[in-house]
Structures are given as C-alpha cells and as structure tokens.
C-alpha cells in the first residue's frame, strides 16, 4: 500500500510541480518520506546504465541516450539532471506504472558522485560508467579522495564497471574485479610528459603512495601512468581512441571507427569514448554508434555559439570551482587558428548553493592564455577583482587585461571593439548574464 501511495504522491507532486515550474527533486523527496525503500520495490528493466564522476556526466548521458534512441531502444533517462537520490526517485517513479513496473526497457541515469551510494543501496546498475575524478566544487565536495570513498561505497558487487583507464584514481576501482570494461586514449600530438597544471594530483600512486611516472599526459593527471614501486599502471583498454585530428575535427576508435567532432575539446573526445564504450557494452552495433555520435551536437547548453552585434563567438560553460574544466576551456580558446578575445566571468560562484570562496582560482593555470592567439582578456562580474588579482600573478601582460565588475558594461565595450572571435569561459550560474545580450546561433 505504501508503495502505491508513494508512486501516487510522486506523480501528483510532479504534475503540480510542472504546472508551477518547480524542480524535480521535491516529488521524489515526498515519495521517499512515504516509503523510504521505494526504489527497491520497483520492478526495473534488465538494463540499467549509470554514469558518474566529476566532469562530463551530463554530456556522456546525453550521448548514450542519443545513440540508444537512434538504435530504436525504448529508454528513459533523467534528462532534467536531478542526479541525487530524490531526483532519481522522481524520474523512476514517474516512468513506472501505478503497480510499480518501469515502463521502458532501459534506464539511463546520471548520478551525483557523492550521493550515488544512497541511490544504489536500493538497486544495482547493470553497467556503471565512472568517467573521472578531479578537484571539483571543493566547497561542498571536500576533496577528490573524499568523493572517491563515496563512489567506492556506491559500487554494487554484481555491476559491470566501465572505467576511464587514463585516470589513476578511477582505475583503482577496477582492481581485483572481474567484470570491468576499460577505455582510454593513446598518445596524441597535444600530450605532454610533464604536468602543466598549477598542482599535480597525479604525482603519487593511489595504491602505494610511490611516485607515478607518465609516458604521456593528455592533461593534468590523465594519461599513461605507472608506478615503479608497486607495479600499478594504466590498464589495457578495451576501447581506445587511437588517433585524434583536432585540425579536421575527427577521432578514430580502435583504428577503425571514425567519428567527426562537432566540438574539438579533449573532454568532448573522452565523453564520446565513454558513450561509445557503454553503448558497445550493451550490444549496440559499432557502426550505428559511430553514425549517431558523428558530429553530434550536445543540447545541454555547455557549448553555445552566439553573435554579439557583428562579432561571433563561443561560450564554453565551465564549472566554477573546477580547475580542469576551466583549463580545458582556456586551452580551447588559446589554440584557435583565428586569434580572439577571451572573456572570463565570475559573478555568482554556484547556481546551486551559496559560497563566496575564490580559492579555486589559484588552482587554475591562467598562463594558458599567455599566447599571441589571445588578444584582449576581459574579466567580468562581481568577483572580477579576485580575477584581476589572480591574473596579476601570471605572466600575461597587464595591458591585455580589462576589468569590468558590471557585466553589461563589459559587453558594451566588447561589442564594437574589433571583429575578432570571442571566447567566453564561465559557469552555468553566470552564462545567461552574457548570452541574454547576444543572439544565440544554432
């Protein structure tokens, strides 16, 4: 009976919430109050694919969903992005019958890395993709090892793990497990052998504490690592990006499958590879996966092309409080063929919670922008003073930097300054403040 009422309340609350434009967590919260183990009482389909990690969850889920839908599979996924247990409960109960049977053949879930352990206490994903683990939102996450412990706790014994073999910390999750699928990237032209970041979270072996050596690093601690002390090293990969051509926007997987890139950032390559691996794992034909992912444009608003008067530009939504996400966006902006202006906006640090902490700015290597490809750098928003101070510790010439605490004022200056491309690096919390004054292009 409690099961019935829990589902009923969730559906009614969701219906009412939609009418009032409310978020998707509350119905699940109410349902869990009525029946705390409701997720364990639902008859779930044979395949449940979950995705977690620091960066790229939403994009990877969107790609997997796109491939599965193209393949004609009957799926449901939490596209609203509510990825903690309340949001997942709302999503599952709204996709099941009043008798508690999930209506679709496949469930695809984006799961919050710290809260997955609560969700997967009630049911086990058949396939669990863990994409990476970085310094991310430390003002609520503590630090990567703290999150690692939470992810480890979320892994059921009978789940097939799909792991990023290039991430040392993530790789330890596959140690001594049988059912693991590994994906990774071979050496590519943009790799380095040394760490180029401000800090190095890949310096020490996560197993024995010995020093890690790298044959190559794709970025930060992601690459081909090995520990001389205990022998821990990058695992042999089942799915591998064997070639990357950023100039022509294409990658090759396992020497055969070619996929065009709608966006040439390296994190996009990883998201594609994770999605490819997950889709292969559930038996979708490789050719149809490639066809679906070929030049796939994400709809989640992470990359937005816009026009500002006569100028064109790209906004790269990069989480504040995530240095790796930021550095990848800065790298993209600094490596364009056509020089441009870069805009960095920090006005509100998070859209989900309040913090005024700007320590994370010191984890970002802003010297990436110290190149001829970058003309002027506009620092905008409430925390533009913190940005200006941070930039004063870089080697970037002072005359390249312009500071506007008022975003509108900065945009007006930008509007007619030149005809160069504009690259905007900011967070979801701030992106609309910029985009609302532009014309968004498809």
């Amino acid at each position: 009976m409690r099961k019935f009422f829990s589902i009923l309340i969730c559906k009614l609350a969701r219906f009412a919430g939609k009418l009032m434009g409310k978020g998707s967590s509350m119905p699940g919260k109410l349902a869990l109050k009525v029946c705390p183990d409701i997720l364990g009482k639902i008859k779930l389909p044979k395949y449940i694919i979950a995705v977690t990690g620091s960066n790229g969850k939403t994009s990877t889920v969107e790609m997997i969903a796109h491939v599965m839908e193209d393949a004609g599979l009957n799926i449901a996924y939490n596209k609203e992005g509510s990825n903690q247990i309340e949001g997942v409960t709302t999503f599952i109960l709204n996709n099941c019958t009043m008798g508690g049977k999930f209506k679709k053949d496949y469930i695809l879930i984006e799961s919050d890395e710290r809260y997955a352990k609560y969700t997967f206490k009630h049911f086990s994903p058949t396939h669990y993709v863990i994409v990476n683990l970085y310094r991310d939102q430390l003002t609520r996450n503590g630090h990567p090892l703290w999150v690692y412990d939470a992810i480890k706790e979320s892994i059921p014994d009978d789940t097939c793990l799909i792991l990023n073999a290039d991430d040392p910390l993530i790789s330890t999750l596959g140690e001594k497990r049988k059912d693991v699928i590994w994906y990774g990237m071979d050496n590519i032209s943009t790799d380095t052998t040394e760490n180029t970041g401000v800090y190095d979270d890949g310096k020490y072996c996560p197993v024995c504490g010995g020093r890690l050596e790298y044959d190559y690093r794709h970025f930060n601690h992601i690459g081909s690592f090995s520990c001389e002390k205990c022998g821990f090293k990058k695992h042999h990969t089942d799915y591998t990006v064997t070639a990357v051509d950023f100039d022509n926007g294409a990658i090759e997987i396992d020497d055969t499958a070619e996929i065009g890139l709608a966006f040439t950032g390296i994190y996009n390559v990883y998201n594609i590879l994770a999605a490819y691996s997950a889709c292969c794992a559930i038996g979708i034909d490789k050719n149809s996966i490639c066809e679906s992912l070929n030049n796939f444009v994400l709809k989640n608003g992470r990359i937005v092309r816009f026009k500002l008067s006569e100028r064109t530009g790209v906004l790269l939504a990069s989480k504040h409080e995530n240095s790796i996400s930021y550095e990848q966006s800065l790298t993209y902006a600094a490596n364009r063929k056509v020089p441009g202006d870069v805009v960095i906006i920090v006005d509100r640090i998070s859209r989900k919670y309040y913090t005024g902490d700007t320590s994370w700015l010191w984890d970002i290597n802003f010297d990436i922008l110290n190149t001829d490809k970058v003309d002027k750098i506009y620092l905008m928003g409430l925390y533009s003073g913190d940005l200006e101070l941070r930039f004063s510790y870089t080697d970037i010439p002072k005359e390249k930097i312009k500071v506007y605490s008022d975003i509108h004022e900065g945009i007006e200056e930008l509007r007619n300054r030149s005809d160069k491309e504009i690259y905007v690096v900011t967070c979801f919390s701030d992106k609309e403040k910029f985009l609302s004054e532009t014309t968004i292009q498809q």
Binding site: V198, T355, W362, G385, S405
Partner: protein, 269 residues
C-alpha cells in the same frame, strides 16, 4: 638569521598539503616583502623536514591543508622534529599552520577507524575525525589583536578588518586548555564545530582551520605575518612601516567579499 640575510619562507609539504591554493600565501608574502622593503625573499618548498634543516634558518614555516591521508603522511614526518620546530619557533621563526595542518599542533588525531596518530603536542587538544564533511564560508573577528595593543597601527588594522575565509574539514577539535584563539566566528564554525572560536596563537606559533590563500584574501593578515617576520628580526621600523602599505588590488577584492559575506550573515540571522 641576521638582518642582512634574505627572508626565507619555507612551504613545508607543498607536494601534499596544498589542497586549496595555499601556495598563493607564500607568493603574496614574497611579493609584499619585495615590493615594500629592501629585502630579498625566497620561497623554499620541501616534501620532508630532513631536506631543510636547520629549521631556524627560516623566517616562516608554513603548512597548508591536505587530505586526511596526506595529513597522516605529514604527521609521520614532522613529529620526529618536534624539538627542532619548537626551538625555531622560540627563536625567531614564525610558524603558520592552516587548514587541517593546525591539527598537527595538538596531542593527537584520531581517524574514523579509531586509529590514533600522535602529533607535536605543543597545545593540549585532541582532534577527532568524523564521516561528515563540514564546509562553510567564514567571517571572523580577530581575537588575537589585543596581543598587539602596544602597536597602535597594527592594532587598528586588525580591529578594523574582519578576516574572511572558508572552513573545509571533517574533524572536531577538543581543547583541554583555554588557548588564545585566533578568531571568533561570525559566520561558519570554529574548532568545536559550533559558532565559537577558531585557531590558536602563542608566541610565534599561529594556527587556524581556515583553508586556502588567506593572505591573498585578507590584506591585513598578509601585513600581520610580514610584521611578525620583521619584528622577529628586530627590524621594528620596517615592521611598523608595513602595516600602512596600500594594496589596491587586494583591498578591492577583499571589500567585495566582505560586503557579500556580511549580506550573507544578515540573511542567515
């Protein structure tokens, strides 16, 4: 150390106890000293104490925040140099530990498995780790300012400027003595995870659980630490002159954050 030697700043365990951009504290201090005095200043980074002995050759020994695992590595190294560090602090070296490095100064840290790690034991407190992460912006009154009541300028500086920062920890500190605290929390939580007091100051030893680049965020703390360094060298004139230095970039950023955090306090009350 003599007054003509260059200022030496030691960032100890910069490889593992540098989780929230703490390295910037040393950069700020070096820039401030070099821009505003005749002194040269060098930053020395070390993974272990044995590489940088004698400790009293440094004007400042700094340790920042790390993971719980990294902190245990630091404890296992530093406790062998208990006397050396104490002697340095009793001589002329300022010792500054922030984030969970401040826990090294107590008698022990107990982890969630119940394992106890003996620490330096300079102060009579115990630390107990929990499974709960405590994170919060912090706004603090400078409780330690009365120690400097004889220096009008410094006293005024510390009186007029609240300290801002962030708490990010999983531990609770239980004091068995009444220390001279660094801060009174107006926002955020103190050593006992209540809105009380944080940190400790005694002689040249200064500690706080606030994380990150505190001296970047708080120009008055930057000046205070520089003041300590020069007054320890007997260069009181220079020490005094530093409290009045204008830091426009730092002050601009500081005032924005203070304003925001004060609004936050009003909303919460």
């Amino acid at each position: 150390m003599n007054e003509n030697q260059k200022i030496r700043l030691l960032h100890l365990y910069n490889n593992i106890m540098n989780l929230y951009g703490e390295y910037a504290n040393l950069l700020a201090l070096k820039r401030f000293i070099e821009n505003n005095t005749e002194a040269e200043c060098e930053i020395v980074s070390a993974d272990k104490v044995s590489d940088v002995l004698p400790l009293d050759s440094f004007d400042l020994i700094y340790i920042g925040a790390g993971t719980e695992k990294a902190q245990k590595t630091a404890i296992s190294d530093i406790t062998a140099y208990r006397e050396e560090l104490k002697n340095a602090a009793e001589n002329k070296t300022t010792v500054l530990f922030t984030g969970n490095a401040c826990e090294l100064l107590g008698s022990s840290v107990k982890n969630v498995k119940g394992e106890i790690f003996p620490c330096l034991g300079y102060f009579d407190f115990e630390t107990e780790e929990t499974t709960k992460r405590i994170t919060s912006d912090a706004v603090c009154e400078n409780m330690f300012l009365d120690l400097f009541s004889e220096d009008d300028e410094l006293y005024k500086l510390l009186k007029e400027n609240i300290t801002i920062g962030f708490i990010n920890k999983c531990s609770i500190i239980k004091w068995k003595e009444s220390p001279k605290s660094m801060f009174k929390l107006l926002l955020g939580v103190g050593d006992d995870n209540k809105k009380t007091e944080d940190g400790v100051i005694s002689g040249n030893i200064i500690a706080s659980h606030l994380i990150g680049p505190l001296m970047i965020k708080n120009p008055h703390l930057l000046k205070f630490i520089a003041y300590k360094i020069f007054s320890n060298r007997g260069q009181n004139k220079i020490a005094d002159s530093l409290t009045g230095v204008d830091l426009p970039l730092e002050s601009k950023a500081y005032l924005v954050s203070v304003n925001e955090l004060k609004n936050r306090i009003s909303q919460e009350s």
